[in-house]
Amino acid sequence: MLLYALRRLLYLVPVAFGVSLLVFALVHLAPGDPISAIVPPDAPQEVVDKLKEYYGFDKPLPVQYFRWLAVTLTGDLGTSIGTGRPVAAEVASAFGNTIILAIAATLFAFSLAVVLGTSAAYAKSRIVDRLVTMISLMGVSVPHFWLAIVLVIVFSVEMGVLPPMGIGPENSTGWRFDWPHLKHMILPTIALSVIPLGVVTRTVRSTVKETLNMEFVTALHAKGMRDDQILRHVLKNAAPTCLAVMGLQAGNLIGGSILIETVFAWPGTGFLLNSAIFRRDLPILQGTTLVLAGFFMLLNLTVDVIQTMVDPRIKRG
C-alpha cells in the first residue's frame, strides 16, 4: 500500500507540472501587457522598462516560466501588487479562514447526509424516501449563492437574529471559538453545505440500497443477526464509494467557496481571489490558484489512498 501511495505521488509530478504551466499561463491569458496592470498608463517609458526588467517580463516565455517555477518552489509566491505584502502570507491567513468554514460545512453536511441517505435506503414508507430524494435534489439544484442571499434576507434582514456578513463582530481581527464568531458562521455554513448535502445524500442512499439488496445481507438475516449489527456491515460495504464522493465534495468546498465567501464577505481564499481579480492583482491570483489546486490534488490523492485501504477489492501495489 505504501508502494501504491508512492506510485500515485510520483504520478502526480507531471500533473503538477502541467498545473503550474496552466497557472503561469493564466497571467498571459489576460488581455494586454501584464505590466499594464501594475503601472498607470501615463508612466514614463524608463519606469515601464525598469519594471519589466524587475519582473522579468522582457525575457522569452519559457525562461519566465522556469524562473517563476524556481522561485515558487522555494515558497515565495511573489508580492501582491495591491497591498505590497507577500502573497504567501496573504494566502496562508485566508486559507485558514476558508478551512474553518469548510470543516464546519463538511461536518454538518456529511453527518446529515449519512443519516438521511441511510434512513431513505432503509425506509419502508415511500414518503420518507421521496422526501429525502427531494431534499437531495434541492441540494444539487439550488444556486447556493442565491440561497445565501435568501438566508441573509430571512435571518438578518427580516428577523435580525444573525449577522449578514463578516467573520466576526466589528473589531475582530480573526476567528475565535466563541459565540459571536459562531453566530457569524451559521449562515455561511448552511449555504455552503447544501450542495455536498445533496450529492452525498444521493450517493449514500443509492450505495446503501444497493448493498441491502446483496445476497450477503439476506444471509446475515438468516443467520439471525440483529438489524443494528447488519447496519455496521452494510455501512462498511457502502463506505468506499461514499468516502470517494465525500472527498471530492470536500475538495470542491475548499476550492469553490468563492461565491459564498463573496456574499458573506468572509475573508477566505475565495474572497481573496475575488478581490485579486478585480484589482488585477495577478500575483495573488496566481498564488491563490496554485495553492488551492495543489491542495485539491493532495486531497484527491489522500482520498484515493484511503479508498484502497478501505476497499479490499481494489488492487494495491
Binding site: 493564466l26 488581455p31 442571499i149 471530492l248 470542491n252 469553490g256 461565491l259 481579480i277 491570483l285
Partner: protein, 301 residues
Amino acid sequence: MAVQSPAVDIAAALVRPTAASASRGYWPSVGRRLRRDPVTLLCVGVLLLVVLASVAAPLLGLADPYKTSMLRRLYPLGSPNHLLGTDELGRDMFARLIYGGRLSLFMGVTPVVCALLVGGMLGITAGFVGGKVNMAIMRVMDVFYAFPSVLLAISLSGAMGAGTENTLLSLTLVFIPPICRVSESVTTQVRGFDFVDAARASGASALTIVRVHVLGNVLGPILVYATSLISVAIILAAGLSFLGLGVKPPEPEWGLMLNTLRQAIYVNPVLAALPGVMIFITSICFNLMSDGLRAAMDVKA
C-alpha cells in the same frame, strides 16, 4: 459544484448491453419510456415554456428591459404596469426575467454542447485507440482535473476578463475534462466487448467500427451525463455573472441581476430574490430530466 460525481460508474452501468423488453429496438423503447414518465414530461413542459418565452420575448409585448427610470425604482410586486415590480434602475422585472432567460439558458447549454462535441470526440478516440494516444489525452485532462471546477472557471474568467464570449470559452474548458473522462471510460468498456473484436476481425476500418458499433452503445451514457451537467453550467454561469465575471451590464441575466439587486435586499427582499428563483426552477427541471433520461435508458431485460 460537483462536476466530478461518480457519474463514471453510473455511465458504466448503462453500457451493459441490456435489452429493451418486449420492444423493437433500443432508442424507440427509451422514447416510449420517457413519454410515460410524468415527472420528466412536466419538466420538459416547464423548460419548453421558459425557453419559448425567452426566445419569443420581443413578440410578447413586454416592457423594454433596458429602459431605466430613476423615479420608478424598486417598485414592489403587483404594481400597476409592473407585474413583478422594477429593479434598482427602474427597469421592469418581468421583462428582465424573461429576457434574462435567453442569456442565462444560452450560457448554460452552449458550453455543455461544445464540451460534448470536443470532449466526447477526444474521449471516444482515447477509449477506442488506447495505448499512448489514450495516455496523452487523459494526462492532459488530469491537469485540468487538478482544479475544482468553480476555481478553474473563475481563474480562467478572471484572467481573460469579463464578457459573454470569454465566459463561454472558460465554461467550455471547464466541462471538457469530465465529459472526456466519462466518454473514455465508457468507450474503453465497449471496446472490450466481443462484438467489437468481431468487427475488428472482419477487417473493417476503425472509423467504420466506431460509427456502426461503438457510437450506438456509447452515446447514451455520455448524453445522460452531459444533460446532468447543464444545471451545473447554468448555476456556474450565473455565479460568474454574479461575481461580475460573466455577462456585462446592462444585459439582463439572472446571475447578474442577483448581483445588482443585492443592494435592494433591505428595501424589497422578495424582488431581490426573484432571479434566483428562475435559476432554481430551470436547474431542478434539467436535473429531473437528466434523471428521467437515465432511468429510461437503464433497462433490465
